[in-house]
């Protein structure tokens, strides 16, 4: 526990590749993930439709966990459904709704169902959502969850209890790809960089960031990351959000914590003849800019419920699987040998 987060000496990753997303990133291909927000009504047909739009173009699909602190179908159920459909989910877990027992049981449950990517965050505070009077859990913070999950990969629960059925059976070491969040727009920026370093020390493999509207800020953030060498061990995927109109931008600028939306961006959207087209164009431009930033390994597309735009954005940005050189990895995964 005495290791310093900024130490450059971090042991190399020795586990085999756990998922398609990890394969893509390890092979130094540009990775693309998308996101599905589960519905509230207990019916997965909507998810099925969204999944069909994304399955061929994204390397993996994040399933949010009660996003914005509002009740939705649980992330684990949707992840299991995606696995059944032959998809590759990223299981998002927040510290808001689970204590350390629930975090671990959900993780091993997800693993048993075939989930191989996990992404841990602290989570929006409960008063942002539809049950503001509820008791938030926060038994652990995001760094702790990552540390605990990494320990599970080594065959031990958080308490040190071994992961084996009987004392005679071998230790089970579930192999999965472990992700963390980062926010280049948070203050103070060097502290947010240090927090990424802590997550790296805790065992994170990849990072997905908050949505980008302010590219220079991401540039500064990544410059600090690269300067410290954190990108050598962590794969950075930058969050991108295509929007249909100026309204969500205004909302994000004022209401959503941790987001920076420059006034010019809002003005540009407001002045657009065809806002949808402008939104796509803006997303493509942002992607092209962040792609050039040293240390960036991929993008994470958050579309709220506009999944249909993802293929178009990727096509224009030149990031379809064949253009990224990942088609083979995808077909290998389908035939069942991801590693």
């Amino acid at each position: 526990m005495d290791n310093k987060a900024s130490d450059t000496q971090v042991s190399p990753v020795s586990r085999p590749c756990a998922s398609t997303l990890e394969r893509v990133l390890r092979d130094r291909k540009f990775a693309v993930t998308a996101e599905i927000v589960p519905p509230r009504v207990p019916n997965l047909s909507v998810v099925g439709k969204k999944f069909e739009l994304l399955r061929e173009v994204a390397d993996a699909i994040n399933i949010t966990d009660n996003a914005s602190a509002s009740v939705k179908i649980c992330s684990l159920a949707v992840c299991a459904y995606l696995v059944q459909q032959g998809g590759e989910p990223v299981f998002q877990v927040t510290a808001r709704d689970r204590n350390r027992l629930a975090l671990q049981s959900d993780l091993i449950g997800a693993y048993a169902l075939g989930v191989r990517n996990v992404f841990a965050v602290t989570g929006d505070y409960i008063n942002m959502g539809d049950h503001p009077a509820g008791k938030p859990v926060y038994d652990m913070d995001s760094v702790h969850i990552i540390q605990m999950f990494d320990k599970i990969r080594k065959g031990y629960m958080d308490s040190g209890v071994e992961l084996r059925s009987t004392p005679k059976t071998p230790l089970v070491q579930p192999n999965f790809f472990l992700g963390a969040a980062a926010n280049p727009f948070g203050d103070p920026m060097p502290f947010h960089v240090l927090k990424v370093a802590k997550k790296r020390l805790a065992g994170a493999d990849f990072v997905q960031t908050q949505c980008t509207f302010d590219v220079p800020r991401v540039r500064d953030f990544m410059a600090m990351v690269v300067d410290k060498g954190y990108h050598e061990r962590l794969h950075f995927m930058i969050g991108i959000m295509p929007v249909k109109s100026a309204r969500p931008l205004e909302f994000m600028a004022t209401e959503v914590p941790g987001m920076r939306v420059p006034a010019e961006t809002i003005a540009r959207m407001k002045g657009a003849q065809n806002p949808e087209e402008e939104g796509i164009q803006m997303a493509v431009e942002t992607i092209q800019q962040v792609r050039e930033i040293p240390g960036v390994s991929g993008i994470h597309l958050m579309t709220v419920s506009w999944e249909a735009v993802v293929p178009e954005v990727l096509k224009r940005a030149g990031l379809m699987p064949e253009q990224r050189g990942v088609s083979e990895i995808h077909s290998a995964a389908k035939s069942g040998n991801a590693s």
Binding site: K4, T122, Y138, D141
Partner: protein, 141 residues
Amino acid sequence: MFFNVKAKPWYIRLVDIGEQFAKVPMFDCSMCGQCVLRSTGLTCPMRCPKQMRNGPCGGSMNGKCEVFPERPCIWNLIWERSAMLGWEEKLENINPPVDWRLWGTPSWWNLLTGRIDGKGHAVEPKKESEPSQTNSGGTTT
């Protein structure tokens, strides 16, 4: 009339009162029983609504807390004060999760008895000895 539900032996109670007297007004201490003030720029992180122990959450901006915008982000204060005290390096260590068995007990006592270490990190109690000084709900085996 003054029945103390969380009954503690008088000497622990004394330490408890002493610590509360010193820390509650000064640091807005919540008596977590595992004080990390020494590694967080003498600023108590348990004031953070998300009880983050390892740095700001993603919503911390312009020095304000995302949950209660009228309050400062405690981790922003920790950053500034650590810099002021020259304690930046201490922010690099990972503080372990809270050991809830210690909640509501005096850190000073826990430090004295070796239940926490100098950094305020909980030390697992010996199996045989019941952690009777803590207000744990169940029994430890």
